[in-house]
């Protein structure tokens, strides 16, 4: 692996992210809308269960959504790079394909984690009490989830050549991933077939791990669906698998 190359791939994405204010604004606005428009409305229907209000219940899911959109968006920029030729500049350099994939995945990780942290700052308004350890835990989980979703996004990007595919990815992959992640409703309440799909969804485990750390005392339907060690195990192994397959998929193009 070439560290200078990884560094500069991350630095480029970060610089472009900082320059593009509108992207940051819309990235922050989306979770706010869901949290305060959808969440507040639904709170009228769903009364608190097991010590958790509905707004508190969806907060981990909203963090997951922030990460999902920004990680996928960051990885899908590979398609733009292909379209506008910049990818060739990277591919013709003496840099291993694995370094390129790791560089891209780390870019997504950093950008998504920053956005997740901004959204996380809303927790006092939801009546949540998080200690410093919980906050650190949330940030660590957010960055691990960001990495795995970014790596997943890179894998998607290797299958698509043009950016017309962007809306396909958004509508048929990203939106279902969001709804079937336990973000808006508990996985344990889903019908069997959807429960099965939710279990295949990498985001499910990220959202579940966040539920463990954000509402550790929750009981009943709004409590986490899996053991936290299962969650972390799945997130870590998915990251590794996606990065390795992504590296291979890049290699194959040559």
């Amino acid at each position: 692996m070439e560290f200078n190359a990884i560094y500069v791939i991350v630095a480029r994405e970060f610089k472009k992210f900082v320059r593009e204010r509108s992207r940051l604004v819309s990235a922050i606005a989306r979770p706010m809308v869901w949290l305060f428009l959808v969440g507040a409305g639904m709170s009228r229907l769903v009364s608190p269960v097991g010590g958790v209000s509905y707004m508190q219940f969806i907060f981990p899911g909203i963090l997951g959504m922030t990460i999902l959109f920004s990680s996928i968006f960051s990885s899908i920029s590979i398609i733009w790079d292909k379209e506008f030729g910049f990818m060739k500049e990277i591919l013709v350099a003496p840099v291993s394909r694995l370094s390129i994939v790791v560089g891209k995945a780390l870019s997504g990780t950093i950008i998504s984690t920053i956005q997740a942290v901004i959204v996380l700052a809303l927790f006092p308004f939801l009546g949540l009490k998080l200690g410093i350890l919980n906050i650190v835990g949330v940030i660590l989980i957010c960055s691990a989830v960001s990495f795995s979703i970014s790596a997943f996004g890179i894998l998607l990007a290797t299958f698509y050549e043009s950016y017309e595919s962007f809306s396909v990815i958004m509508n048929f992959i990203v939106m279902p991933m969001f709804f079937l992640s336990g973000a808006m409703y508990p996985v344990k309440l889903l019908p069997d077939i959807l429960k099965f799909v939710a279990k295949l969804n990498p985001l499910t485990y990220g959202v579940d791990a966040l539920k463990h750390v954000i509402s550790p005392l929750a009981t009943g339907p709004m409590s986490p669906d899996f053991n936290i060690f299962v969650d972390i195990g799945v997130i870590v192994s998915m990251s590794v698998v996606f990065v390795l397959i992504g590296g291979k998929a890049f290699e194959r193009k040559g």
Binding site: E2, R12, K16, F84, G85, F86, M87, A93, P94, V95
Partner: protein, 326 residues
Amino acid sequence: MSIIKVENLVKKFGNVTAVNDVSFNVEEGTIFGFLGPNGAGKTTTINILCALLSPTSGRAFIDGHDCAKESASVRKSIGIVFQDTTLDKDLTAEENLLFHAYLYNVQKSERQKRVDDALKFVDLFGRKDDLVKKYSGGMKRRLEVARGLIHRPKVLFLDEPTLGLDPQSRANLWEFITELPKQHNVTIFMTTHYMEEAEVCSDIAVIDNGKIIARGSPEELKKIVGGDVIYLKTKDNATAVEEIKKVLNVEASAKGGEIFMSTIKGDACIPELIRTLGDSVLSVRLQRPTLNDVFLKLTGKAIREEESSGSDTIKEEVRAYRRRHS
């Protein structure tokens, strides 16, 4: 020494044979021209040499490294300016070059200096903090050449470097490119459609339909079309034609008030003509064959015939449209 060696290279895309049994060598420190019409297989050959594509069969070496097997060493030895621009237009010129320097692992102590030197070399130092999207086509091209040189490659590939530039920018870019082998110790491998640009090459290969159909220096290639043509006006053309045939022993004929004759060494022939015909000569004009004539003779078509590239043009327009609207 041959820095590029290509042996029986074949590349098939499905049932299209883009490169069909091509072999050639390129000597170190020269400017090698790879000429051919649209779809001849130029870019495909470059992609194989840059280890971006693997060949269907045959082998290619850069500086002794096998392009199919030692891609890392090959990539370190080459720089490339692709046919379509590959700059990040949302970064500044300097950032684009720094990105490259990191990517090629240029030492920390050297990085900034090489970037600055490269920017000065192409006269863009004053504009280094501008986003590339504000650059003109010619500036972008120059920046790409500068970028390709940052890691001190042994071979620089230029795939139609002057495409889409106005005549003046083209001339400037060529002047600059011809300096490169001396100033940067680099071998140039370039492709072009423009025959007149190929005159700067020390060695040329003409490719058509994936096959090399001619090899040699520009002078050697021009000999294929049979040398120079002299056009001449005299007071009495009929008599002059007789004189030329008799004294110079050269075939000549008069047409439309002008005499024309083919010779091998046109410039040496003119003094002799004037000596023979004396005062009767009104004007003399020497036309040397261009590489375009060579191409016409070899393939029966002009190199810049564009009708075959309809789909390319559309693709280019779509790209340009997207660039404008994104």
